[in-house]
Amino acid sequence: MALKPAEFKTDVHNDWCPGCGDFGIVNAIQMALANMGVQRDKTTIFSGIGCSGKTSHFINTYGVHTLHGRVLTFAQGAKIANPEMTVIAVGGDGDGLGIGAGHFVAAGRRNVNMTYIIFDNGDYGLTKGQASQTLKLGEKTKSLPSPNTNSNVNPIGLAITSGFTFVARGYSYDVRHLKDLIIQAVKHPGLSFLDVLQPCPTYNDLNTRDWYAGTDLMDEAQKRHSRIYKLEDTGYEPTVHYDTEIETNEKLSQALIKSLEWGNKIPTGVFYKNENTTPYTVRIRDHIPNYLENPPAKQNISKNGFSNTDISKILDSLEV
């Protein structure tokens, strides 16, 4: 049953800068949760550190505001212990692709059934605008003393090569489209990744709202009122339908090539989707048959205040 987005709002004061792209993302998450009718107390938002880290405080579900770069570790642990929960992890691009890049790659390999959303603004906002992982080499935002000396990480490409089974990109000012993407991501049976382009009006004067709108361009993008276009409008087909190596490799390569597109035409929408890869729950169930009915969080561990675990067979084997 669809609920109202307002039910997913807390009354915590939001202290993001006026015009921050984060607002659109939080609204889209709340709209998506309401639209799916998820139970508030069966849902947890995990967040990292930085402006985007505060997201969990604004959403009226369980909210766990974790540590810089580590959000995926907490989120996966909770989801594995209690697979019934809907789990969404959020964080910035510095958080997830810099200090947290190792966890990002490892999470891809596991394919735990949850969603990870990166608020991608090209800078470290809360520490006053240092270059972050998606800022391009040689670019200089107004907050940088000199141009960026590092090449950028390609979030979509990294997700695809790490094994994420749903990889998409949204734009924080297209809230309706973003909401639809979040719904697809949450419903995806495996680890889904959403890279959300998000202007930082305070520190990033390069990738601004106007820039995304293409106001600096002479021709096509200006007519479209955007640099951004939607893959689904171009007939792009992201889904691996048959579990064959040929089709999988073809869809992977196509998504990788698309992920390199930037500049005057920036693709959004679903890049890659593969439901054939076994989710982590199934991999656990292969050796723990009753894992889903009796996951760690549901197990009864005591009787009348004492242990009810029977380890007698192991002890028998150790007896001499």
Binding site: H57, Y62, V64, R70, H103, A106, L315, L318
Partner: protein, 605 residues
């Protein structure tokens, strides 16, 4: 056979090729440690003889492969330069050649009995008898030959040898048969050819319900028994054995309930391991991880998060020799101070240390109870000496594992607040996914609901709430779980962890000399039970701190908390565990007023 044993594995940080050895002490009463003196050495290669010949006592024996008698020290590539230099000096002094024969002569001069056997000819004979030419060059059999020869020499009835081989190779009957043949042949060779050895093991009266366990099994089985159902971990010596054991036994029966399981997850690093454990704990699952110094160092930031968010997790910390990679496969009680002070900022945690392996099973259960009652991270201190020892002990009793989940809620009405102020500083605990139990966590300072606050007044209240747990711990945990007094005397030892074993045996040895020494075993290391320790030691004249690290870390927190100086330290940081002989020697020197302030022990290859 009915004997009590204490065995210890020593090995290099290397997969194969470097020198590994196993010492086992056998007795007809309970023992707690190794000793310096070796009665029988069964060697399969030259290096073992070079490294250990001088540990065998007069009247003891060395079984060795007579085919390698002329092996020179220089041809054993794994003998490192500093050791070789010391050995050469000794051989020069005694005017012996730099060969196996040379060191064996020294042993013989001392009164050691030599038992030469051509391992090659044993294989030849067997190969001919069984018409199996492959057997002729099967040097992999040398260990079975060596063990069987030694059991023949001490006249131990061969049935336990045969049973053991069958168990080890239960899935490979052909290989089992080959090993059986070799074993019996070697065993008979020894009983026929070797006589007049002073040490024989015919068996003794069996005590019922005795276990033969490896050190890491205490905490592993303890975790299973007390309901730990989630253990993410990252591989590290000497901690991984515990996790691998848990995973090998991930499915088990639960009394009057459906089968249970432990989800054991290998993570990408120790940061993820503790992060996942915290995530699991937030769902109400008893969650833990297991690591050693370098891994624990990586967990420090997360530890603070668990502290400020009052999350019950258990970190089993199998210490090894530091600093940095240190001696990665060797022993050390190096991380007491680091465990107590790990993490930035002030937050409550509990550090608990098991003495002997037998205790570690029950202590594990207690650690989980403490974590949930006080809602904080608990660091359970173990070490490499524990992890790679093999001991006999009384069968563990799961009926003694009580489960106290503290203020964990079974259901929640409306208006729930995770960090609600309460009389004892502990708030009722909901879990992720629970009806009506919504809460927020944050590594920032927070209000009662868990939302960020920077209000100075609320900050003080929250800080006071959390830190008040330290007094609560000292108040609520029974005294005998905090500190074990094994007797107090004019001279009294304070110690902790695995070192307790050698100390107990040393104290027994001193008793035979008419010397009585007390022992206070600290288990609750943090918060430090200062008042109780002070009262126990009030009449003590000389305090001796015994531990396996450089700086006397327990001594430091003792002084800080009890405001009293340590009179003597007995320390060891070679990476090898203390033997009771060494502790005995130093204690005797202390009593006779001949000791240094810092007695530093160095026995062991």
């Amino acid at each position: 056979m009915g004997y009590q044993v204490f065995g210890k594995r020593e090995f290099y940080s290397n997969i194969k090729g470097e020198h590994s050895y196993f010492t086992v002490r056998i007795a007809d009463k309970k023992i707690h440690s190794n000793v310096n003196d070796v009665n029988l050495m069964a060697s399969f290669d030259a290096e073992t003889i070079f490294r250990h010949y001088d540990e065998v006592i007069s009247g003891g024996g060395i079984i060795y492969d007579s085919d390698i008698i002329e092996t020179k020290t220089d041809t054993v590539r794994t003998l490192d330069a500093p050791f070789k230099e010391r050995l050469h000096k000794e051989l020069e002094l005694k005017n012996k050649p730099f060969t196996v024969a040379g060191v064996l002569e020294i042993a013989k001069d001392k009164g050691v009995l030599l038992f030469p056997v051509s391992f090659k000819s044993i294989l030849h004979t067997l190969s001919e008898e069984t018409e199996n030419p492959r057997l002729r060059g099967l040097v992999r059999m040398y260990n079975v030959i060596g063990v069987s020869l030694s059991l023949g020499l001490v006249q131990m009835p061969p049935d336990s040898l045969q049973k053991t081989i069958d168990t080890i190779f239960s899935k490979k009957p052909e290989i089992a048969k080959l090993n059986q043949l070799t074993a019996i042949h070697s065993y008979n060779y020894a009983t026929t050819n070797f006589k007049n050895f002073d040490y024989i093991l015919l068996g003794t009266e069996k005590e019922s319900r005795t276990l033969l366990v490896q050190g890491f099994q205490g905490t592993a089985l303890g975790k299973m028994a007390c309901g730990c159902r989630f253990q993410p971990y990252y591989p590290i010596t000497p901690a991984s054995d515990e996790s691998v054991f848990l995973e090998s036994h991930e499915l088990f029966e639960v009394i009057d309930n459906r089968p249970g399981s432990t989800a054991v997850i290998q993570t990408e690093d120790e940061i993820c391991a503790i992060g996942m454990a915290i995530g699991g704990a937030l769902t109400g699952t008893r969650s833990a991880t297991c690591t050693s110094g370098p891994g624990f160092a990586l967990m420090a930031e997360m530890l603070g998060w668990a502290g400020i968010n009052e999350v019950p997790i258990v970190i089993t910390n199998y210490q090894r020799s530091g600093p940095s990679t240190g001696l990665p496969t060797r022993h050390g009680q190096d991380d007491l101070l680091f465990s107590i002070f790990a993490g930035h900022g002030d937050f409550p945690k509990l550090v608990y240390a098991s003495g002997e392996i037998e205790e570690s099973f029950y202590d594990t259960g207690n650690c989980f109870n403490y974590a949930e009652i006080f809602q904080l991270p608990v660091i359970h201190m173990m070490d490499k000496f524990h992890a790679s020892s093999v001991i006999t002990c009384q069968r563990w009793d799961t009926k003694k594992i009580s489960i106290d989940r503290g203020k964990l809620l079974e259901k929640v009405e409306s208006g729930y607040q995770r960090f609600k102020f309460s009389d004892d500083g502990i708030s009722p605990r909901s879990r992720l996914g629970m009806d009506n139990g919504i809460f927020w966590n944050t590594g920032d300072e927070s209000d009662e609901t868990g939302h960020i606050t920077e209000d100075p007044v609320l900050r003080v209240k929250m800080m006071d709430k959390r830190m008040s747990k330290l007094d609560l711990i000292l108040d609520r945990i029974p005294k005998d779980e905090q500190v074990v007094s094994h007797g107090v005397d004019d001279f009294t030892i304070i110690s902790w962890g695995s070192t307790i074993g050698p100390i107990k045996d040393a104290i027994d040895m001193l008793k035979k000399d008419g010397i009585s020494i007390g022992l206070i075993q600290l288990k609750l290391m943090h918060p430090f039970p200062a008042d109780y320790v002070k009262s126990l030691l009030k009449d003590v004249k000389i305090i001796i701190d015994v531990e396996a690290n450089y700086s006397g870390q327990l001594g430091k927190i003792f002084k800080q908390n009890v405001q009293r100086d340590i009179d003597y330290f007995i320390l060891k940081y070679t990476g090898r565990a203390m033997t009771s002989t060494e502790v005995y020697d130093s204690l005797k020197k202390i009593v006779e007023n001949k000791a240094e302030k810092r007695e530093v022990l160095i026995h062991g290859a």
